[in-house]
Every structure is written in C-alpha cells, then in structure tokens.
C-alpha cells in the first residue's frame, strides 16, 4: 500500500443541520448515524472515505475548536503502533466513532494539519452528484515540510506540483483628433499566486497551498464576487495569518460542475461561483459560500481534468 488512506474527514459546523441537508439532500450522499459516547454523529459516505459533521463545539474535537475542516483520520488497523512506527508523538489515545480506537498526532509534527490514525470505519457510499472527495485544501507556508511528513515519512505519493499566478496587464491609450493615437503598455504585474503540491491519501489528495509571495497584500473583501487566483491567494494568506497552517477546505469531485453549481443555487444554497472556473490540475472548480453553514466551513467542487479538462471548455 502506498502510504495511508483517508478514512473520514471531520467537519465542524455552526449549523450542523444545514450541513447535513447540503450533503444528504443536495449532494445525495449516503448517511449513517454513527454512535459516539452515547450520542450519534452523522457520517456521509463519499467514494472510499466519509465526511463526518460535528457541532463545532463537540468534545470529540480537540481544542482549539472553530467551524471548518477540523481533522482528517487516516485508516490504520493499529493506530498507536502506526504513530510509533513513524516516530510521531501521540497527544491523545481513545475510542472514537463506532468504538474504533484512534490516536491524535501532535499537530506541530504534521505541519499544522490535524491528523488522527483510526481503525477504519465502514461507511457505505453511493454514486451521486459528488462521487468522491477530490482533495483537502491545506493552507501552508512550507510545502517542503508537508512533503517531508506525508511523503518521506508516511509514504503517501506526490501526485503533482503546480504554480498558479495572476497577472495584470495595463494598457493606456491617448487618442486625439489632432495628434493621433498613442498606446503604451506597462510591464505585467504579478498580483498574487500560489504554489501547490498534491499528495495522494487513498482516493483523494492533500492540496498544499502556499502563498506565492507573502509580501503581496491580500484582498480585503472575499466571497462577494466569483473567485479568482488573487482571491484564493488572499484566502490562504489570511488563513495562515489567523490560524496558522492547517486544513482549510474540502473539495468534492463532480462529473459536471456546470450542472451542479446552478442546481445547488436552485436548492437555495448561496454560491460564490455559478460556473466552473479554472482550478488546479487542469480542473474546473466552483465554491459554496461558507455562510450557508454558519460560516467558517469552506466547501468547493472540482470537475477533474477529463479529455482535456479546462481546455475543452471555452471562456468568454
């Protein structure tokens, strides 16, 4: 086996009920309520893993707690032994959902990505508008460190690397009725960008997102207009500044993003994007507004590169 596979992803929401409606009703993911210490937690099977929705204050989630992607649990039949084998410090050992044994790894040793090993839970999944998790977005300021942990130590393979840049070109024109026309263009200006590394964990990837140039000031207003690379860079820079590096968003894979995004809007969800825009790895992506779930929880969709991916779609 190459590295470890994602068993479930813990999402922390202010509005658990809305998040469950989104995943269960709109994305048609299969739900199983899993027992945990006398209560149940809604799990939604997706591809070969699952998404669990917790109240953002749930005691199963270690501090600090805030709405968003809380932790990822990698499957391991012997959680404590696995941590020990890789020389990772365990901060908590316990019995989790479905009575499965788990360990929590010291987050400093996983570049802020809150990681657990757990005896694999079996959550059934069905095909639907979102057929698997495409990737987990990680805000980071050190891609190399994440590679040392997840690839060199845990053995998860690198899928690909890429650089995203947004450039402004400005042309000034002076068109006179006596002096003719003058055009001049200023040199291109880099507005912002990201360096990405994709590392495979089972049927999805960790997407490390590192600010291309931390001296570039992030944009103030986010989520008010459809997304772009400068906005993504700003979101990552702000996330790292506020919370430190760690899990930032989850992206579900879909086969037809231009059908899914408007459909979700019709279902009443506030959307940042209503059509797919260029994303990483030749894909099309589109974001859901975090306000749907009480804020903080960032979900988007990816239509992976197929038959040319982005190249197959023409933009006006």
């Amino acid at each position: 086996m190459a590295g470890y596979a994602l068993n479930y992803l813990a999402l922390a929401a202010r509005d658990v009920e809305a998040a469950c409606r989104f995943l269960g009703d709109s994305l048609e993911l299969q739900r199983r309520d899993v027992p945990l210490e006398g209560r149940t937690i809604p799990f939604f099977g997706v591809g070969e893993s699952a998404v669990a929705i917790f109240d953002f204050d749930d005691p199963y989630l270690e501090e600090p707690r805030f709405p968003g992607v809380h932790h990822m649990a990698l499957g391991a039949t012997d959680p404590a032994g696995t941590a020990d084998k890789h020389g990772l410090t365990v901060t908590e050992e316990g019995i989790g959902p479905d009575g499965k044994r788990f360990v929590t790894i010291e987050p400093k040793e996983t570049v802020g990505i809150r990681t657990r090993f757990i005896e694999p839970l079996d959550i059934p999944s069905a095909d639907g508008p979102a057929h698997k998790i495409d990737h987990l977005g990680i805000a980071t300021d050190d891609n190399d460190a994440t590679v040392r942990v997840f690839t060199d130590n845990l053995g998860c393979p690198i899928d690909s690397t890429q650089t995203d840049v947004e450039i402004r070109n400005v042309t000034e024109s002076f068109i006179s009725d006596k002096y003719g026309a003058i055009y001049h263009s200023r040199p291109p200006e880099i507005l912002g960008g990201l360096r990405d590394v994709f590392i495979t964990i089972g049927d999805c990837e960790l997407e490390m997102l590192m600010d291309y140039d931390p001296t570039m000031k992030p944009k103030d207003q986010l989520g008010e207009e459809k997304g772009n690379t400068k906005g993504d860079q700003s979101a990552i820079a702000k996330f790292v500044a506020r919370r430190g590096p760690g899990l930032a968003h989850v992206s579900f894979a879909t086969r037809d993003i231009d059908a899914l995004l408007p459909k979700l809007a019709d279902d009443g969800w506030r959307m940042i994007d209503l059509e797919g825009r260029p994303g990483g790895r030749g894909s099309l992506i589109g974001f859901v507004h975090p306000s749907n779930f009480g804020g903080g929880l960032l979900i988007h969709f990816t239509e992976p590169q197929v038959d040319g991916g982005f190249a197959a779609k023409s933009f006006g």
């Binding site: 890429q162 947004e166 400005v170 030749g282």
Partner: protein, 308 residues
C-alpha cells in the same frame, strides 16, 4: 472678435517671495514687481504671458482664495467693454488690479468654475529660459467639456485646438503551470479602469486643458505622490478635485525642451518632483510632475512635445 490674449495667470502660493525666487533661480525666468492695492505682487514673465504670485489673503482675489491656480486674466484695452461684449455676467464692476490696471471679474459660475478676469495689458516683454519656453497649458478639472466649449469658444472667442480621449484598460490573466496536468492560461475580459476626455482650447500662447472624468465603474484612488502617475491616477485626481472643490483651474504646465533634464535640474536645485522621467501625456507629449509643495500648493508639470 479677435482671439483673446493672456495677460497673466494668477497663482496663490504660501509665500510669493519664496516662490518668485524659485522661478528666478531654478527656472531662470525674470521677475517684475507690481503693486496691487497695498501689497506687492511678483510677476514672472513666461512666453507671451506671465505668472502673478499672490498670497492667499490678498484682498484683490476676493474671499476664500485657495492655494493653486486662482484665475486667468485676458488682456483688453478696455476690460469693461470686453467683458460686456462676452455677454458673461460680471461681479463687482471694474477694480484696480496689478500696477493699478483696470480689471474686471467674470462670474465663476458662468465660466465653468474658472476664475476669468479682463485686465489692461501688463506690458511685459516676451520671456523664456533654457528650462521653460512658455506655459504649455492650464489644466482644468471639468465636469462638462461641452459646456466649457460653449463658454470659452462661443462667448469668449477662444479657439478650439484639439480633443482626445485617454483610457487605461486592465487585462488580467491567470496562469496555472502543472508538472503533470494541462498547462492553463486563462484571460479574463478587459476592464476600463480609468478614462478622461481632454479638450484643448487656445487662450493667448497657451491652452486650457479641460479634463473630464468619464470613468463610471471605478472609485477614485487615494492621492499618492510617491510613484509615477498613470491615467487611472490622473482621472482619480480630477474626480477628487471636483468632489472637494468643484470645477476649476487645477494645474499649470510649462513647455520644456527636455522633460527628464528639467526634472533633474529642478531636483538638483533642492526641489521635490513626483516623476523623475517623462511619461506619456496628452498631445503626444512626455510629461513630468513637480511636487505641489514646491511652489506652496500649486500643482505644476513639464511638457516636452513637438508642435503640429
């Protein structure tokens, strides 16, 4: 009706004496003093016109004189008759101006916010220096260039020179370069981020440059004097000026043989400049701004261009 001649341009500055010294020493121009009421007003001959340097509280200017280019004075043998001929309303009747010359003021709200007076000629000899040939133009923050044409051409007899439209367009590209997946280059539609209509109307040996902001979809930027200017920045300056002070005379530009050299000389003499090299300006020119603190509150720039 003959085309009007420009007697002088009135600049309101913090210290007329200090400013006159800069024009004399750093620009190499000559000065001559005129009495005006109980005060002395230095005048600097430049081209076939002159700069008259007033202090802000000079009673000749009227109340609330702000620093900057205050008014222009058109030369007329009989100022009162010339004013009446124009059909534009006057204020206060004839008064005693520079060197006791008769002067009469037109109503600002009838002249697109521009202070206009008629005066008897100052009788100065034409003058220039290695740095300054003449006044190239007087920049006007305008809300309506068509209205300006109706006043200055149709009523005051000035001659139309040219009109141009300046625009700044930004085009944003996103570029995703992967080592495994498709290389993506994606360009968003271009956006107009600053636009002005600029109308030149001749007065004497210079032109009014009426600058009307046409930008509708972008907020004016904050003022900044720490970087070379742009059309977007210029447009923002005009929008801010009109919002704060209304329409009116905004800046003065001097024709120079070599804008870069002139900026360097001005800087070497201990003055501040905004630009250090010429950048594209109206009428196929290279322009370079001096800092408005240089002549206590007047925005000035150099213009280097071929005349057509």
């Amino acid at each position: 009706m003959t085309a009007p001649d420009l007697a002088y341009v009135a600049l309101v500055v913090d210290e007329p004496e200090a400013s006159a010294a800069i024009f004399e020493k750093d620009f190499g121009l000559l000065r001559q003093n005129f009495t005006c009421g109980s005060l002395t007003v230095p005048a600097i001959a430049v081209g076939r016109s002159a700069l008259a340097l007033f202090q802000p509280d000079d009673p000749f200017l009227g109340p609330d004189a702000k620093k900057g280019v205050h008014h222009i004075a058109i030369a007329a043998a009989d100022p009162k008759a010339a004013a009446e001929d124009s059909g534009v309303a006057t204020v206060n009747g004839p008064a005693s101006g520079l060197g006791g010359r008769t002067s009469i003021e037109l109503a600002r709200d009838a002249t697109c916010g521009i202070g206009v007076r008629y005066t008897e000629s100052l009788g100065l000899a034409p003058a220039s220096s290695g740095l300054v040939e003449r006044i190239d133009h007087l920049g006007v923050a305008s809300a309506d260039n068509q209205a300006a044409r109706e006043v200055f051409i149709d009523k005051l007899g000035c001659v139309y020179e040219s009109q141009q439209t300046d625009s700044e367009v930004e085009t944003i590209s996103e570029n995703f370069t992967s080592d495994t997946y498709n290389y993506i280059y994606h360009t968003r539609p271009s956006q107009l981020i600053g636009s002005m209509r600029v109308t030149f109307i001749t007065v004497g040996d210079t032109e009014f440059e009426f600058i009307q902001d046409l930008t509708t979809n972008v907020q004016a930027d904050e003022a900044r004097h720490d970087a070379a200017g742009t059309t977007r920045g210029d447009r923002s300056a005009i929008a801010r000026y009109i919002a704060a002070r209304g329409q009116g005379l905004h800046h003065i530009a001097f024709k120079t043989p070599d804008v870069k050299e002139s900026l360097a000389k001005i800087k070497a003499a201990g003055n501040r400049t905004i630009d250090t090299v010429g950048r594209p300006g109206s009428r196929r020119a290279l322009i370079g701004f001096m800092h408005p603190t240089m002549i206590g509150g007047v925005l000035m720039h150099f213009v280097q261009r071929e005349e057509i």
